[in-house]
């Protein structure tokens, strides 16, 4: 399954990248599983596990960790928002 992953703000800086297209191994079907998968790369990627109150979105809609990820989805991870 191919997805596009985006990172924003402090998380983007910690990872050193703002986006990535990747082919997911079988068995990764939720946002939470995708997050764990990426965090398991180690090094700076552990920021995905340690960022406080990490938020996620699928196809530009805010979702919880148990949300399903499908082929072609755009999945984003970011810290709590601070606009306004």
């Amino acid at each position: 399954m191919n997805v596009r992953v985006l990172f924003f703000a402090g998380l983007r800086e910690a990872l050193g990248t703002g986006s990535e297209s990747l082919a997911l191994p079988d068995g990764i079907a939720t946002v939470g599983a995708l997050r764990d998968h990426l965090a398991a790369r180690g090094e700076s990627w552990s920021a995905l596990a340690t960022t406080k109150n990490l938020r996620s979105a699928v196809n530009q809609l805010m979702v919880a960790a148990d949300a399903t990820v499908k082929e072609g989805d755009e999945v984003a991870f970011f810290p709590p928002v601070t606009g306004g």
């Binding site: 985006l6 924003f8 703000a9 402090g10 983007r12 109150n53 979105a57 530009q60 809609l61 805010m62 984003a76 970011f78 810290p79 709590p80 928002v81 601070t82 606009g83 306004g84």
Partner: protein, 160 residues
């Protein structure tokens, strides 16, 4: 276009006037403008927060506009308002610069005020923007504030 995300500054007076232009049923326009604060007082008082010299606003192109539009749509469902305008700037801003404006037109002031406050509270907690402050000690990402979550939460019990 009721929602804009842009680098450019805006003219709040012109935006407010546009909401009532050519119509005679608007009795009330409430607005809000948020600006970059240097936070020197906090820096001096607490000795913890160094003064802000500049601020960079990041957003999630596409999602940010959708999130703002969804907040505006919700306000229009909840209150009897005639028009809403939201503009949020992105990029690098200096203390005193305008960051955001919300303006709401209605027949009466009650609806205009409450919808304007609702939009600001939801924008603060639900629209993907992030602020990075530049201080004499370096850059720091602004933490989300409990008080903003609290302010947004007070709307949850009302009609949706």
């Amino acid at each position: 276009m009721s929602v804009s995300v842009q680098q450019a500054d805006f003219d709040v007076g012109a935006e407010m006037a546009a909401l009532s232009a050519g119509r005679d049923d608007v009795g009330a326009v409430a607005s809000f403008v948020g600006l970059v604060r240097a936070d020197k007082a906090a820096a001096a008082d607490a000795g913890v927060a160094p003064a802000v010299q500049a601020m960079t606003l990041e957003h999630y192109p596409g999602m940010t506009e959708k999130a703002l539009q969804e907040i505006v749509d919700q306000a229009e469902r909840r209150w009897d308002v005639f028009g809403i305008r939201v503009i949020h700037r992105v990029g690098r801003l200096l203390p005193g610069d305008r960051i955001v404006m919300v303006a709401v037109a209605s027949a009466h002031r009650g609806e205009a005020f409450v919808a304007c406050e609702f939009i600001m509270d939801y924008l603060k907690t639900r629209a993907p923007f992030w602020k990075k402050e530049e201080t004499p000690e370096g850059g720091r990402w602004v933490d989300a504030r409990e008080s903003d979550e609290h302010a947004a939460g007070r709307w949850d019990s009302g009609p949706n």
